[in-house]
Symmetry: C2
Subunit: 351 residues, 2 copies
DNA sequence: CTGAAAGCGCTTACAG
DNA sequence: CTGAAAGCGCTTACAG
């Protein structure tokens, strides 16, 4: 059992409140130098740390944030988490991580536990466009921020990128290279990123005067396996596309696998563009052309927004939307990889 | 502000303790059916959840575990975390995630915060062979488990694999393929996995009657960039190796990059074997031959061990050591990838 | 059968 | 200058 204020007070022959004031460096405390010295020595000697639980109860703050995501195994969310932690740790916060696997029931269960624990703030990156869990969150008094995906009409505090613009950049890039039959591995229409990236894809085609071919849009979801299945479908068409815009990099990875199995060369037989620019994108062969968004910054900004809400007590639904940027690599333009390969290897994590 | 026991008691015209007993389904509680019904209705109506902080203070348990790792961005640790969460969530625990980037100072800071928060248990996967933080942990009364790496002479509760055997499997495999000049991209000697995998590498060579060539062992650390640098060094030797055993899969990934830049074919010009079998290993081209360890199970077993310590109050230093298994893919044996490619794509995460 | 009390370990407005 | 008290929101041994 760690030492307690009461014990320390007994040993120092003072009242617990006095020890507390010394430990917390209470500026309003007028105290005899001798007493202070005695108490401080005791504090150091016992390595006293106030019990965070008791402190949390009294002060109504736990110094804990929670992050709710589909799956930390997805590099996108791993990078996001690091951003959040980097924003939170310097302010004394630690971070609970909750994976939902995209299952609404699990998201709900986690959010309820978090509320019972009185976490100071929640960062949610697993929301659907219509999401009872988000509505529930709005009625709680807990500060929260949605990341990457928003819900309803974007009435919540939010950090993300301009998905329509990003998808347009990707599609316009392919059009610029001369492609006309451009497929889209699309996210679910139940998720904001799915909807908006479709919209950008369509807008770019229509701006270029290319008639929409419904067969060329196949729902893939956001992960590798769905990407593979959708790509199979596209390549089985009578007139398969010569290029594809994948709603995420992981979906593009699935498409790579299919192209490889079928003996198609990227980009000569099939050009591919992804979205997010996860670290893996640059490491693929050929490198994946993709829409870069500042994933780590999503996290650090989201953390700061939540902390701001906590500190000010004001829950203004600020929205921070980053401009996406196209990064051209070998998956759309064979010559592009040479430059990329010239650079030093991507930053990488430790075991 | 969420509703409190006192308020509920006032509304139900009973004492708070009675509401508490009903909420907690106290079996020893004898109560008039009418009263119970009234209280239960109120509980449901207000969606009462006891304040976890107050509960934690009283019961001396927070239902929080903490995981301390170098970097969640490394797929090894992401998989490990999922295993831990899967072991913890069903028992009502949630999990704090702390990244150290391998910096001892940060590990120490995190552990101290965690102790102040009174987390119920700690899972540590970032330890050094000589590690003051671990010694400090031993003296606390908090249940803990080391994962993957151990400290000192292995006196702590531990979950991992038999690193010597694993490294021998890897090296023997290369020897069996006819390689004689086999390099080792080695982990730091300050970490147990670094030391033991070296030992296994040396043992396999010596068993086969191959004289050790000191030039062939280059320290790479556990991550991609170090792997690339070490591989560069090996390939710059007058008599470069024809094969390399990398201390981790991420290190092997670094070696892949170098081989590619130098125009070396894998496995024809350079065979490579990794360690861990992270999901990425099967996706590399060619697939990475590696030593499989049950990463997810490391996590779930570690979680269960900590929970067991928490529940029984007994901190017996049990050690669970899994037998590693060699998985042969195209990076050592060109024909091996055909089978692998025939299989369905690897399981993958959701954005 | 239900209530009153004590106490988990803190912090801080209030006394003296 | 320092102490005593109240209270954060629970749970549970003890009374009645």
């Amino acid at each position: 059992m760690p030492v307690t204020l009461k014990e320390l007070a007994a040993r120092a022959q003072v009242h617990p409140s006095t020890v507390s004031r010394v430990a917390n460096n209470d500026p309003s405390l007028r105290i005899a130098q001798a007493t202070r010295t005695r108490i401080e020595a005791l504090l150091r000697e016992t390595e006293y740390r106030p019990n965070g639980v008791a402190r949390g109860l009294k002060l109504r703050q736990t110094l804990v944030l929670a992050v709710v995501i589909p799956d930390i195994t997805n590099p996108f969310f791993a990078a996001l988490f690091r951003g959040i932690e980097d924003g939170a740790t310097p302010r004394g916060y630690q971070v609970l991580l909750c994976n939902t696997d995209g299952i609404p029931e699990r998201q709900r269960a986690h959010l309820q536990s978090l509320a019972a624990r009185r976490v100071d703030g929640v960062i949610l990156a697993s929301t659907f466009l219509k999401d009872p869990a988000v509505r529930w969150l709005r009625h709680q008094r807990t500060p929260y921020v949605l990341v990457n995906r928003f819900s309803d009409e974007g009435v919540d505090p939010f950090v993300g990128s301009d998905d329509v613009t990003g998808a347009m950049l990707a599609t316009q890039h392919l059009i610029g290279l001369g492609h006309v039959r451009i497929g889209h591995l699309a996210g679910q229409p139940t998720v904001s990123t799915g909807v908006l990236r479709r919209k950008g894809y369509h807008a770019a085609l229509s701006d270029a005067g290319i008639a929409a071919d419904l067969d060329l849009l196949v729902e893939s979801g956001f992960v590798e396996e769905g990407g593979a299945q959708a790509m199979e479908r596209l390549l089985s068409l009578d007139r398969p596309p010569t290029a594809a815009f994948a709603v995420t990099d992981m979906t593009a990875v699935g498409a790579y696998g299919v192209a490889r199995r079928r003996g198609l060369r990227i980009p000569e037989d099939l050009a591919i563009v992804g979205y997010n620019d996860i670290p893996l994108a640059a490491r693929l062969i050929p490198g994946l052309t993709t829409v870069h968004v500042p994933i780590h910054e999503f996290g650090s900004v989201a953390a700061r927004m939540v902390l701001e809400q906590i500190e000010t007590g004001v829950l203004t639904p600020r929205r921070v939307v980053f401009a996406p940027q196209l990064v051209v690599r070998g998956s759309s333009l064979a010559s592009a990889d040479e430059q990329v390969l010239g650079r030093a290897g991507a930053r990488s994590p430790a075991e």
